[in-house]
């Protein structure tokens, strides 16, 4: 399995650490109701198909990556820097 890091290029999966779904990027604002927290930490769409999830190029540039990926075929259709995306 291979990911193309936007900075380092095409790399073997063993260089990356997987955290979870894109939901971890949408941190509830301070004081938000606990239900928002449940969504943020626990509830997931968990699709059998295209999803977006978070990978860390641990052995490379230490950048967090938002990867668009198919959970059935493992096809990867997009990788972008978490730090680079518009807030």
């Amino acid at each position: 399995m291979r990911l193309t890091c936007p900075l380092c290029g095409d790399r073997d999966r063993r260089e990356f650490y997987y955290y979870g779904a894109e939901d971890y990027l949408h941190r509830p604002a301070e004081g938000a109701p606990l239900a928002d927290l449940d969504n943020y930490l626990h509830l997931r769409d968990n699709p059998a198909g295209v999803t977006k999830d978070l990978w860390y190029h641990e052995a490379g540039c230490s950048q967090w990556l938002l990867v668009t990926r198919n959970t059935v075929t493992h096809e990867i259709s997009g990788v972008e820097l978490v730090a680079g995306r518009k807030a």
Partner: protein, 416 residues
């Protein structure tokens, strides 16, 4: 028909023509009292215990493939009751008791054998954590023995005690731990449920759940609509897809876990062994194959197959722990779909829809839970109240913070 050694002899004398089908293959009726979605281990045991414990037999188990085609069809077959958190320890202890009577209860040889499970540890810190676990097991009424290094060497002389990266300090022996023949568990429960009148419907995929003003009415399937008063979702790795049909978003992320079997070998490993410094566990099946596995691949996946980095890590763990298996050749590798939950423990609970129940979140420990999961899901669906040993498996526990986190790794789904 009742199975026995005598029956095998008498049927053998007449060319085995007399054996009848282990289960019927009926077409789905228009309505049932109860529908169980999912013909895997947990679905079949739920149907069995609804019939056996609660006298409810007008049940349909709907399976999109063949019976036992999911995780129960391919796993490392370990049966253990070595959990330490209240909420888990009583559940798995209950499951172990059911395992110990399963052959006679089902009249089906599931080949459950308790040859002992040893969790190895490689530091003082790990030892203390296993002592806490072992004491919790004994407090629960189960069995645990602390082995020091020499104690481990007595049981497992072939481990590498001299030239290894993480020396063995000792092990926690769980004498009643062991393994069973996974397919036989599915087939035993299927046959038992079928004999009590449960309709096992294969090649029947559920693609909709009918709900009218908050009450479940039945399901839509590839073989037509079927009505029911109560519906149980028992589909492990596919839980999110089926729950979505009822407008539910679950605390589940589905992950691939690889497992391996070698070519058949004369007996060399008699126990189930778990390595503490790199997720690796191994046992030898009755047919002689070494059955072993390790960690998830760690990315969400429904592909039922994994990739080489984790394969290599598992093999390296095997070689540092027991280099004698070096010349054994991996015959087959496969991957399952693990329904990982945010604390590593399962969910057996009602839902916001009246009459709709959910049994999911088994991470990679579902096989040993098959009996108790069925027992408790049946109790919940029949009585509306959770069984006492499964009372803590609530769906809302993540929102309220009443976690059952055995690994202590927090809400990240793939760390359990």
């Amino acid at each position: 028909m009742r199975y026995s050694g005598l029956k095998v002899i008498t049927e053998g004398l007449f060319g085995n023509k007399g054996w009848t089908p282990a289960w019927r293959d009926p077409a789905p009726k228009a309505e049932y009292d109860v529908i169980i979605i999912g013909g895997g281990g947990h679905g079949l045991s739920t149907a069995y215990y609804l019939a056996k414990n609660h006298g409810i037999t007008n049940i349909a188990v709907l399976e999109k493939g063949y019976l036992g085609s999911g995780n129960i069809g391919r796993n490392t077959t370990i049966v253990r009751a070595n959990y330490f958190l209240p909420g888990n320890s009583e559940f798995y202890s209950h499951s172990m008791k059911l395992w110990e009577g399963l052959e006679s209860d089902l009249n089906y040889n599931v080949m459950h054998s308790q040859r002992g499970l040893i969790n190895l540890f490689h530091s003082d810190g790990q030892r203390d954590a296993f002592v806490r676990r072992g004491n919790a097991m004994i407090n629960q009424g189960d069995d645990a023995i602390l082995l020091d290094r020499d104690g481990v060497r007595e049981h497992l002389p072939y481990l590498d005690f001299d030239n290894t990266r993480f020396p063995i300090y000792g092990g926690l022996l769980h004498p009643r731990g062991g393994s069973a023949r996974h397919d036989a568990v599915a087939w035993g429960y299927a046959r038992g449920a079928d004999q009590r009148g449960v309709d096992l419907i294969q090649n029947c995929e559920v693609n909709g759940i009918d709900i009218e003003n908050g009450v479940v009415r039945g399901v839509q399937t590839t073989r037509g609509a079927i009505r029911a008063k109560k519906v149980g979702i028992v589909v492990a790795g596919r839980s999110s897809q089926v729950a979505a049909m009822a407008g539910m978003r679950l605390p589940i992320e589905s992950h691939v876990l690889q497992a391996f079997v070698t070519e058949g070998l004369k007996p060399v490993i008699n126990h189930v062994i778990s390595f503490g410094m790199g997720h690796f566990y191994i046992s030898q099946s009755d047919k002689g194959g070494l059955v072993f596995g390790g960690d998830l691949d760690f990315y969400a996946s429904y592909a039922s197959r994994g990739n080489l980095p984790m394969v290599e890590h598992v093999m390296e763990a095997g070689m540092t722990l027991m280099p004698m298996i070096g010349r054994a050749k991996v015959l087959r590798s496969w991957g399952g779909i693990m329904d990982m939950s945010p604390d590593g423990s399962p969910v057996i609970d009602k839902t916001h829809v009246d009459g709709l129940f959910i049994d999911c979140g088994w991470n990679y420990g579902g096989f040993k839970a098959v009996p108790a999961s069925g027992w408790c899901m049946a109790h919940l669906m029949a009585t509306g109240e959770p069984h006492e040993v499964a009372a803590k498996f609530r769906l809302d526990r993540f929102a309220t913070g009443h976690l059952l986190d055995e690994e202590g790794t927090g809400s990240q789904h793939n760390l359990h």
